[in-house]
Symmetry: C2
Subunit: 239 residues, 2 copies
Amino acid sequence: MSNPTGAMLVIGDEILSGRTRDSNTNHLACALTAAGIDLAEVRVVRDDAEAIIAAVRALSAACTYVFTSGGIGPTHDDITADAVARAFDAAIDIREDARAILAAHYERAGTDLNAARLRMARIPEGASLIENPVSAAPGFIIGNVHVMAGVPSIFEAMLASILPSLTGGAPVISRNLDIHRAEGDIAGPLADLAARYPQLSFGSYPFQRSGVHGANVVARGQDVSALDAAMAELAEHFG
Amino acid sequence: MSNPTGAMLVIGDEILSGRTRDSNTNHLACALTAAGIDLAEVRVVRDDAEAIIAAVRALSAACTYVFTSGGIGPTHDDITADAVARAFDAAIDIREDARAILAAHYERAGTDLNAARLRMARIPEGASLIENPVSAAPGFIIGNVHVMAGVPSIFEAMLASILPSLTGGAPVISRNLDIHRAEGDIAGPLADLAARYPQLSFGSYPFQRSGVHGANVVARGQDVSALDAAMAELAEHFG
C-alpha cells in the first residue's frame, strides 16, 4: 500500500481523565479507510500548548494529512487554535471572515457576540476556514492540518465538508471470516497464507460468544481478486 | 499537580482501520485517575515494528509509566513483544517460566502447545511477567513499560494485577456542575474563577439534551476544600 496517510490528534484533558470517551477517532478511521487514506497514527494530548505544538509538528511532518479534534470553543481551556498557529510559526488574531460568520449566527439567535465568543474567530494567518453547519464557529486548515471541533456532531459535519477535498488512493477493502477454532490453531495456516499473499495484510481477533471460542480473521488490501482467493483458501482450510 | 505520569500505547491495525473501537484507553484513564497517576498521552500505532519501537522509546522517556495493549497473541501479526525488546535493546527468546505457564494451561485444556502458541512465551530478557487469569499467556514489564493484551477482559485483569505495584500521588478529585446557559456566557466568569483558583483545572463541555443547551463544567484538583469553594462560587453565580 502506498496510499496517502492520515494522523489524528485528539486534544483534551477530558479524554485523558476518563471523563469522556473519544468517538471521533473511530468515525475518522472508517471515513479515511473508505476514502483510500491510511490512518497511520493517533495521539491524544492534554490541553497544554507545548504538548499540542510538539504533536502537531511531529504528525504534520510524518503524514499526508493531520486531523485534530477538540479545544476550539469559547472557554479559557480552548487553546488549540493558538497552539496550532505557534506550531506553524503563524500569526493569529480575530479574522474578519470568521468574525462575520459568528456575528451573523449570533444576530439570528439574538445572542450577544461577547469577548469569549469572539475568541472563536481567532484564525491563524494563511489558514482557510472549515464550515460548521451546527454551531457556526469555524474550524480551519493550515498546511496539512485540519482543525476541527471535539463535539462529535460538529466534528462529523466538518469532516464531511472537507473529505471531498482530500486526495485518496485506492480504497483498502477488507474481508473477514469467523473461524470457530482456537487462535493458536489458526495461527500456523494463517502465517502460511500471509506469506503467499504479501500484497494483503491479515489480522486475527479472538472472540468468545455464548461460550463459543473462535477468531475473526480479517484480510485487507487493494487487490480484490487476491482478497477473494485468499479468503476462499482460508474457508476451505477451516471449512 | 506533580503526580507520576502515565502513557498508553495502543497497538493494532484494527483500531486504525476503524474495525475495532478501543475501550482499553478509557478503562486505563479511569483507573489511573483513581490511583493518583496522570495519564499524559495516548498513542495508537500500527502493527509495525519501527512504529512500535519509536513510540515505546518516546513514551518511556517522557512518562513515569507506560502501558501497552495489543499484539501479544499467537499469530504472525503479533509483534509487540519482539518490538518492545528491540526498543530496550534486550534479547528475547522463549522463556522457561512463561513456557511452563502455557504448558500447564494447555495440558489442563487438552490442547496442543504448538509452535504458534509457544510464541506467546517469548519474553524479553530481564522482564517480569504479568499474570493472565483469563487465558494464561502472560504480559510482561520491562523498564517502566507494562505490556498487556488487547482483548478488553484480559487487559483489565492484567491492569488490576499490576495497579497495586504502581506508586501514585494524591488522587485527582473532580466536581462537576451542569449549567443551563450557552457556553459563551459561561466562559467569562469561568475564566475569572480559573484565575482565582490556579491550583485547580477547569473544563467546559457543551451539551444539548432534549433541546436544552448547556455546558457541564468540570473542576479537577487535589485540594478538596478549594474544589468545594470554587464549585460553590460557580453555583452561586449561575444559580
